[in-house]
Amino acid sequence: MGRIEYREEKLAYGMLSPMLAFVVLFIIIPVLGTFWISLHRDVTFIPGFKFVGLRNYVTVLEKPEFWHSFFVTVAFSVVSVSLETILGLVFALILNEEIKGRGILRAVVLIPWAVPTIISARTWQLMYNYSYGLFNWIFSHLGLGTVNWFGTPISAFFAVVFADVWKTTPFMTLLLLAGLQAIPKDAYEAAIIDGATMFQRFWHITLPLLRPVLIVAVTLRTIDALRVFDIIYVLTGGGPGGATTSVSLLAFNYYNLGDYGVGSAISILTFLTVLSFTIVYLKIGKFQEGLK
């Protein structure tokens, strides 16, 4: 290790320190602090902050409502990510074709991404409205009767899913389009000569070549979906009867009730679930290769 290199190393740490200071103070310490709180009885109207070990975790894992919200979150993630993957793939295939107005189409696809999540949730809430929502207005004009979207667990669940899919499909589309554009044209030449139909070409060439990008995109979106909060908070508030309460929202509700110990335990369990997916993502992403 020469002197110059040693000086350079110090300089590098100096350049990284502002970034790390923000991250340590406002992400790392808060997570550790939340874990610390989760090991205590910390309730607003009960005096004293008392160490109770893992008791909050036992309390949470014995609650049917926790398992219900866990199930809701997983179901939401699976359904929402599946739908937006299929839709995103269709959109990406369309945008990858040589058609007139491709530039305009690409711009239009980006619009749902640009609408803030809360505003998009508010707009969907209005469209689902029983008395003067767009959907019931169309349904009743077509003579199909009306749907009380937020009235039943199933319809409320799908109401949330559709709103989420609308908002997140553009991102999926962009990633898959980048993947499609990276497929060399000559990959198809032999297949065309052999007379493969377009569906065969898609199934045997496009999909296998797109697989790495698909896996990364699906993992990334799953991580996002497991954390869902904003759209549910605004659209259904977690109702009816907790039918759309995600784990993040459940923790939030406990904080609101003043039970920080239980809220923190749910938060940390959410964290661990998401972390397992994050590790998978970092493993498959080969993120260090460009740096070596």
Partner: protein, 278 residues
């Protein structure tokens, strides 16, 4: 119908449906924002009567505080963008140009952080911010937002800096420039597009953030647009949808315009941030 024609037909039909799907909620927002509220609750009923009063009310009624929310959002998002981009550029430069122990661990560590659920921070963060006396101030959002948007910014800049030939700044170093001069005079000017797409994405992320803003603000002095719109309720139990949609349109249109005008930068930033490993 041969295969070429079939493909073309499918593409065109698909494109039309795609445009409809992507646009209809946005258009409905605009329609309702210019519509007089239906005042009676009956069966499915939309009563279209054109008015600009919703916009008048939202922009002109000080008790709604919409302009305060808008100002808060703009100021916070702008400050966060400046600080996040500067601090990330420093970090990305160090990782891409200087050999040091732990160099490869930094980006992975930071990327991992970006995937933490927000809820796993707020238990402690709320108490921390409360103890500092920052609740309902810009500081309460500024610091967490910088930390929160940093990973994305670092990734985009890092992927750009590593592609930039090292000879350029090495030539400057041989001529006696310091590392900082090499960064400011050589690397940053060449990275303008990446800096711009990072700034756009950070700004939009900060403008849209909800959970922290909901918890760390209590009234119009620090409350941001998303929280204002989420908590916007009528006085007499009747939801003023016209006003809500007008406020939504005013907040959304600048972002949509940004997204359309700078589409190229946003797309490159989003894909660089996510598909780095491809």
């Amino acid at each position: 119908m041969n295969e070429k024609e079939l493909k073309k037909t499918l593409t065109v039909v698909g494109a039309v449906l795609m445009v409809l799907l992507c646009l209809f909620p946005f258009i409905w927002m605009l329609v309702i924002s210019f519509t007089k509220d239906a005042t009676f609750l009956g069966s499915p009923y939309v009563h279209f009567e054109f008015t600009v009063n919703n916009y008048r009310t939202v922009l002109g009624d000080p008790t709604l505080h919409f302009l305060d929310y808008f100002r808060n959002s703009m100021v916070i998002a702008t400050l966060v963008t400046i600080v996040t981009v500067s601090v990330s550029a420093l970090g990305a430069y160090a990782v891409s140009r200087i050999r040091f122990r732990g160099r490869l661990a930094v980006p992975i560590f930071v990327l991992g952080l970006s995937m933490f659920p927000q809820i796993s921070l707020v238990g402690y963060l709320f108490k921390f911010i409360e103890r500092l006396g920052w609740i309902n101030t810009y500081k309460a959002l500024f610091f967490p937002y910088v930390a929160w948007t940093m990973p994305l910014a670092l990734w985009i800049l890092l992927s750009y800096f590593t592609q930039l030939p090292k000879d350029l700044d090495e030539a400057a170093l041989i001529d006696g420039a310091s590392r900082f001069q090499a960064l400011y005079k050589v690397v940053l000017p060449l990275s303008a597009p990446a800096l711009f797409s990072t700034a756009l994405l950070v700004f939009i992320a900060a403008f849209n953030e909800f959970m922290f803003a909901l918890l760390f603000t209590t009234d119009h002095r620090a409350r941001t647009v998303p929280v204002g719109i989420a908590l916007f309720q009528g006085v007499h139990g009747e939801v003023p949808w016209g006003n809500i949609m007008a406020a939504s349109a005013i907040s959304t249109i600048p972002l949509v315009v940004l997204a359309l005008v700078f589409q190229k930068y946003i797309v490159s930033g989003l894909t660089a941030g996510a598909l780095k490993g491809e």
